[in-house]
């Protein structure tokens, strides 16, 4: 293959690192699992009802998606849920012993710090927002503000639209200067639109 051909072929391939961020319980791992399960057949992490289930950065490389003749080679980074405080007693309400809860709280705090550091490393960010809750939390505002200052393209995924009390319109209103895609990471509804938006922003 000639050098020019090689360069042309290379130019069509786009490698991007996509960070999935958001509050605890927003559905970040569920979305990451849906994306990886449907492309390479593996899941990135476990989902339970206990808060802070993801306590360290998990990533899967080489997820290839073709869009409009371009090939997007993605690294999906599932980050621990962000929180400004962690009360170990919350974990005890989910059946953990005091010792287990204290350990989990320590791991969760490290996870939050790692997730904040990851903001500097991604090419594109997906902020997963639970559309059954009010979206203007300080964590969401801080995330959007940080990514804006760093100039990182951001998509808001208004998650959990499969639930009857979901209000994705409110999410769209609050983040009116960002692309907001209502999705269900659980059923996969509209996840294709999210991928289209990624391709549009990075293509």
């Amino acid at each position: 293959m000639g050098l020019l051909q090689k360069l042309l072929r290379k130019s069509k391939k786009i490698h991007i690192r996509i960070g999935i961020f958001g509050e605890v319980g927003a559905g970040k791992t569920t979305l990451a699992n849906y994306l990886t399960r449907n492309t390479i057949g593996v899941e990135i992490g476990t989902v339970t009802g206990i808060p802070h289930e993801t306590r360290e950065i998990k990533e899967i490389e080489n997820l290839v998606i073709k869009y409009n003749g371009k090939e997007l080679n993605m690294t999906i980074v599932d980050t621990p849920g962000l929180a400004t405080y962690i009360d170990y007693r919350e974990f005890m309400k989910h059946g953990l012993t005091e010792t287990e809860a204290i350990t989990r709280a320590k791991e969760a705090t490290k996870g939050v710090i790692e997730a904040l550091r990851e903001l500097d490393k991604v090419d594109l960010a997906i902020i997963v927002v639970d559309s059954t809750r009010m979206p203007f939390s300080q964590v969401n505002m801080m995330l959007v503000g940080n990514l804006e200052l760093k100039g990182i393209p951001t998509i808001i995924a208004a998650n959990k639209i499969d639930l009857p009390n979901a209000k994705p319109k409110i999410v769209s209103e609050v983040f009116s200067n960002k692309p907001v895609i209502p999705i269900s990471a659980l059923t996969g509804e509209n996840v294709e639109k999210l991928i289209e938006e990624i391709a549009k922003l990075m293509g």
Partner: protein, 112 residues
């Protein structure tokens, strides 16, 4: 038990270097001080503050919380202010805000 409330003016925020400001606020928040900020902290400082404080989380100190209020405090005009307060095992902070006033209440859990 003693709780402090400290007002940080916009001038103070502007003249203090980024790292020094984070260091200052971390020290205050770890020492039971509620910070009333004139304006909204830059998001990068917010994340740096959270990351710095979470290193100290234990069974007594859980981190911080933020609240944004609009009030006529220390000024004739309504201003946006950010209240940053420590979240601990034994103190619960209540914030009551109207356009004319800002009231902070502290509930102490002496049993815990």
């Amino acid at each position: 038990m003693r709780i402090w409330v400290e007002y940080l003016s916009n001038d103070f925020l502007k003249k203090t270097r980024y790292s020094a400001l984070v260091h200052y606020m971390v020290n205050r928040l770890l020492n039971r001080t509620v910070l009333v900020i004139d304006g909204i902290l830059n998001p990068q400082i917010q994340s740096q503050l959270i990351a710095s404080l979470l290193k100290y989380v234990n069974t007594e100190f859980y981190g911080v919380d933020f609240k944004i209020v609009n009030a006529k405090v220390f000024s004739k005009k309504t201003k946006r202010m950010m209240i940053i307060y420590p979240v601990t095992r034994d103190i619960l902070l209540g914030i009551d805000n109207s356009s004319e006033s800002l009231r902070l209440s502290f509930t102490f859990d002496v049993c815990s």
